[in-house]
Symmetry: C2
Subunit: 112 residues, 2 copies
């Protein structure tokens, strides 16, 4: 595996925007309306959520469905390709849960 | 796991700079001199490599050792904490290897 090659860069670019990973993760249990996503994620503005969903759609990771109800309903859902990202994101989340405190402690030592 | 929390953001910030992941991966087999890293990685300037190594050192992921030889020798090595990142980076690299073409194909479809 050559991490500097095009494929690896594309992969890291995809999660280089933290919101991409956050929104993919928030869709892991099935379709969600934008308001549900905002409530589950917390701290994401409607504008940033919309931009993130468009970016994920552009990359084939999410589909958008509209339902002609009153009021109209919009839902987002992971594609099969999008679901393949759940494992790497989960592994990374586990790493963060176990080791982020060690990184923060290292930063504190450097700043003394 | 709440991906929007501080720990997860820190983790994603760490790999949000693709070079961080690339350099950690290039150190997976043991200590390396900067010139060796540049040769193995390819396409990384001395300046960017130095900045990346300093950032990894600041975050407790890499140590720098100097040897009083002629000419002086400098080597970088993963810390125990840095080695814990190899698994998530590897999982992500595998994802890229398997699925990056699908993402590129999705992008092409959007642009037609």
């Amino acid at each position: 595996m050559f991490l500097a090659d095009c494929q690896a860069r594309l992969a890291f670019d995809l999660i280089s925007n933290t919101w991409n990973a956050v929104v993919v993760w928030a869709l892991r249990h099935g379709p969600r309306r934008p308001g549900q996503l905002r409530a589950e994620i917390g701290g994401i503005s409607p504008k940033v959520l919309t931009e993130t969903l468009r970016r994920l759609e552009f990359n084939g990771l999410v589909t958008r469905s509209t339902y002609a109800e009153a009021p109209p309903r919009v839902e987002y859902e992971l594609t099969d390709l999008g679901r393949t990202l759940l494992h790497p994101i989960g592994v990374f989340g586990e790493w963060a849960f176990e080791h982020a405190d060690d990184v923060l402690a290292a930063q504190d030592r450097q700043q003394i």
